[in-house]
């Protein structure tokens, strides 16, 4: 079932690409132009996704996608998104410490003080390696 969905997605992408290449210009008579590569690839991808679709239909493997831990994964992804947006607002130090504490505690609750110490310690470690040692700036406190 999952393979069917994926091949449908790939097929959709290839059709979209094929039609968008129509507007691409051509400049040099000897250059096949910017459209050639994507157009060719989109045709190949379409053929392959049909092949995948057929093999998926014939094999009928049992879908094993949604297992035990999917709720955890979903929570993590949402938390990552929140972390991503908070970086710009709260800056690296605050949002990273918070993200770490929440996720570590979510995955398994052990000694709170220990977890907090690790989160803050690691955040400052990364901060000093990147910002202070390598001079690679990290997002600053934004407000």
């Amino acid at each position: 079932m999952a393979d069917v969905l994926v091949s449908a997605a790939f097929a959709f992408i290839s059709i979209f690409v094929f039609f968008s290449t129509g507007r691409f210009p051509e400049l040099n008579i000897n250059d096949p132009g910017p459209a050639l590569f994507p157009k060719m690839l989109s045709v190949i991808l379409l053929v392959l996704s049909v092949a995948l679709l057929l093999s998926a239909v014939f094999k009928r493997r049992k879908a094993v996608f949604f297992e035990h831990g999917w709720k955890k994964v979903l929570f993590t992804v949402l938390l990552l998104l929140l972390y991503y947006f908070s970086l710009d607002i709260l800056g690296f130090l605050v949002s990273t410490s918070l993200f770490l504490i929440i996720l570590i505690r979510y995955l398994e609750k052990r000694n709170l003080l220990h977890d907090v110490a690790i989160s803050v310690g690691f955040t400052f470690l990364i901060y000093s390696v990147f910002q202070l040692l390598l001079n690679v700036p990290l997002p600053e406190f934004g407000i």
């Binding site: 210009p25 400049l27 040099n28 800056g91 130090l93 605050v94 410490s97 504490i101 709170l112 003080l113 907090v116 803050v120 001079n135 700036p137 406190f141």
Partner: protein
Amino acid sequence: MKKFGVLAVLLLFTFSILAGCQSQGGKEAKVNFPEKAIEIIVPYAAGGGTDAVARALADAAKDSFSKPIAVVNKTGGGGAVGMAEGAKAKADGHTVTMVTVELVTLPNMGLAPFTYNDFKPIIQVNADPSALTVKADAPWKTAEEFLNYAKANPGKVKVGNSGAGAIWHLAAAAIEDKTGAKFNHVPFDGAAPAVTALLGGHIDAVTVSPAEVASHVKSGQLKILAVASEKRLEQFPDVPTFKELGIDVVVGTWRGLAVPKDTPDEIVSILYDGFKKAAEKDSFKEFMKNAGLGLEVKDGKEFLERMKNDNELFAKLINSLGLAKK
């Protein structure tokens, strides 16, 4: 409850550190500038030529200002991402952008959400002309011979450049425009691969900067036929300019600093004084000489003039090459 307490202490701790970093305000002055670190946005990757210039200049300027200078690389879009961000930055002078000739080429190709009018130039520090370069054992001894051959065989001479619409492509187009020759333009992914292809004899000429061919010219593998500058180059005094040959082509790249257009003039002049002092330091001059980059220090007004002229020239060339996105 205990948990909450720890969290609160933690937050307080981080906040206070952050606050400490920010609240060291400057002394009272007429125009209080700089109030915090000055950031130079470099629209190209660390390790490249533009990055090196910015870092050398920032290093030379560290005594000119009361606050530190940080160089930040914001790459992407052939320079468009960094310059777009620089144009949109807060117009308080603390975010300075290292602008390059792409400031006037990208908008004309329809690839950038800004024009040179979005910036107020501070200072220009570098300019390099295009140098028409061929293999040392090529049949052409002079630029005239080369151009005559190109005119007699339209579309045959393969001229390598650093990318479609990049400055050295436009330089070759400018030569075509003024002489009536017709080249076969071969775009490469940067100047270095183009020079390598010339060394290997896979193309006939390149129109990149003198620095990019200098080592091969000195070792006798390549020769420069002409340069597209106003005056002959110090480094190659025997190479004529196109102007001397009666071909009015002056084209090349440049680099300098600029701030968003709404930045107050007092701040711009503080920045100019500071960076001017840096650009005149021996350490910076030495760096530019060793890196083979042309030192050309000009004030904001002259810099703006150059942008304006180049903008007109490139608009025309980009249209004639069919590179303007419709």
